[in-house]
């Protein structure tokens, strides 16, 4: 006689373990949209029209000025291949020769982007942060910008999504997602020892988050990654980066004393602040990737 375990196995072979999905009735409710009169009144006033005209004129002006400045800069760049170029001066040599003892990163690229050129990387992280902020302003679902009809449509879509969740996909995703996260964490933590670092590792982790959200739906995702966690992680990582690096901007390129030894090949805790900065960048990139997907797909995180 087969024990309980074996009968479960037989059920599994026969494919009967998938729970019976509740039947949903997809009824299209017709709800009147939120009133739009107040919005029209504001636009029709004279002040608002003046504002619109001046807004367009100033936008064109800003664009023209920006184009002029950039073109002027391009014409003043040094000629290609001349001996006085920044590319052929002593900076590159110094990065390669002194990089290990000054930054502590065995991987010279990590030392460059997170120590010598940390300000540049800070700008890139801020660009990601601002971009996700703008997408939130434009696409975040809100009572003010979504009518009730659209809301009920969205709710219907969510129910269809729940009903059509695929057990095959979910089983495989449960196998693969931990591996993706492990690889992403490995790439981030080894950024100062081997090729990799915050941006690539963050992108891998973001892809893992997106895969999980696609296969399990937003409800499962929000149980551990809601808008609150998103905001907390992104702002904390960016502020952490800013504080750590602002210190060395104001102290004449002297980094904070961390007590972490510099430049031992193979040891993860061996590069001063670079490991911490890598983790910050990785968190920002992972959250931003997932935030973009989620906002574009359903206007919510």
């Amino acid at each position: 006689m087969a024990s309980k375990k074996h009968s479960r196995f037989i059920d599994w072979v026969n494919g009967d373990t998938a729970e019976k999905v509740h039947e949903y009735k997809f009824i299209q409710k017709t709800v009147p949209p939120h009133s739009e009169q107040a919005h029209d009144e504001v636009i029709s006033t004279r002040k608002a029209r003046l504002f619109n005209i001046s807004y367009e004129i100033s936008a064109v002006l800003v664009c023209v000025i920006l184009v002029a400045v950039l073109l002027f800069t391009v014409f003043n760049l040094p000629l290609f291949g001349s001996a006085g170029n920044p590319a052929s001066n002593e900076v590159a040599e110094r990065y390669l020769e002194k990089g290990l003892e000054e930054t502590g990163a065995v991987n010279a690229v990590a030392g460059m982007i997170l120590d010598y050129r940390a300000f540049d990387t800070f700008g890139e992280s801020s660009v990601l942060f601002i971009a996700v902020g703008c997408v939130m302003i434009l696409l975040m679902r809100d009572k003010n910008n979504i009518s009730a009809t659209e809301d009920s449509l969205e709710e219907n879509e969510r129910l269809i999504e729940i009903e059509t969740n695929d057990p095959i996909l979910q089983k495989i995703v449960l196998l693969i997602v931990p591996c993706i996260f492990l690889f992403g964490i490995y790439v981030i933590l080894n950024g100062h020892l081997s090729p990799g670092g915050g941006f690539s590792g963050g992108a891998i982790m973001g892809a893992g988050l997106i895969l999980f959200a696609v296969s399990f739906g937003i409800d499962a995702m929000q149980s551990f990654f809601s808008i609150k966690t998103f905001k907390a992680i992104t702002t904390t990582a960016l502020m952490c980066y800013a504080t750590l690096k602002a210190y060395s901007f104001f102290m004449g390129a002297n980094g904070l004393e961390t007590g972490i030894p510099l430049g031992t090949p193979g040891a993860i805790l061996s590069s001063g602040l670079i490991l911490v900065l890598d983790i910050c960048v990785g968190l920002i990139v992972a959250c931003t990737m997932y935030g973009f997907y989620s906002l574009f797909a359903r206007g919510d995180i």
Binding site: T164, D166, L169, I172, I176, C179
Partner: protein, 108 residues
């Protein structure tokens, strides 16, 4: 020397599989037929090419990584094909004209 020849033969077989898949993808016209053809590429083609590379390199860290690539591709690619086929069956209005077996599947 012998190892190189075995490896090259395996890689050649894999390349032939991938070529077959490409011909199939361009020859067939319907989605499900094309998927059936392209499945050769990322299962058997990939396996043969990577097996050839492992035979040439011998067992070391690199070949372990290549085996991992095979494992993950074999996990991910059938699921992906399944999802595409499912989307096609669910959204195609006249699926019974294209595929006779579908009636049987749905009545189960």
């Amino acid at each position: 020397m012998v190892r190189d020849i075995i490896g090259l033969v395996l890689i050649g077989l894999g390349m032939f599989m991938i070529l077959t898949a490409i011909v199939g993808v361009f020859k067939f016209r319907y989605v499900l037929n094309r998927m059936h053809a392209s499945a050769l590429c990322d299962t058997l083609g990939l396996l043969l090419v990577i097996a050839g590379l492992i035979v040439i390199l011998g067992i070391n860290a690199q070949s372990l990584k290549m085996m991992l690539i095979t494992v993950f591709m074999w996990l991910a690619s059938p699921v992906m094909s399944h999802l595409i086929a499912r989307a096609e069956v669910m959204t195609h209005a006249h699926i019974k004209d294209e595929c006779e077996e579908i009636n049987q599947c749905q009545s189960k």
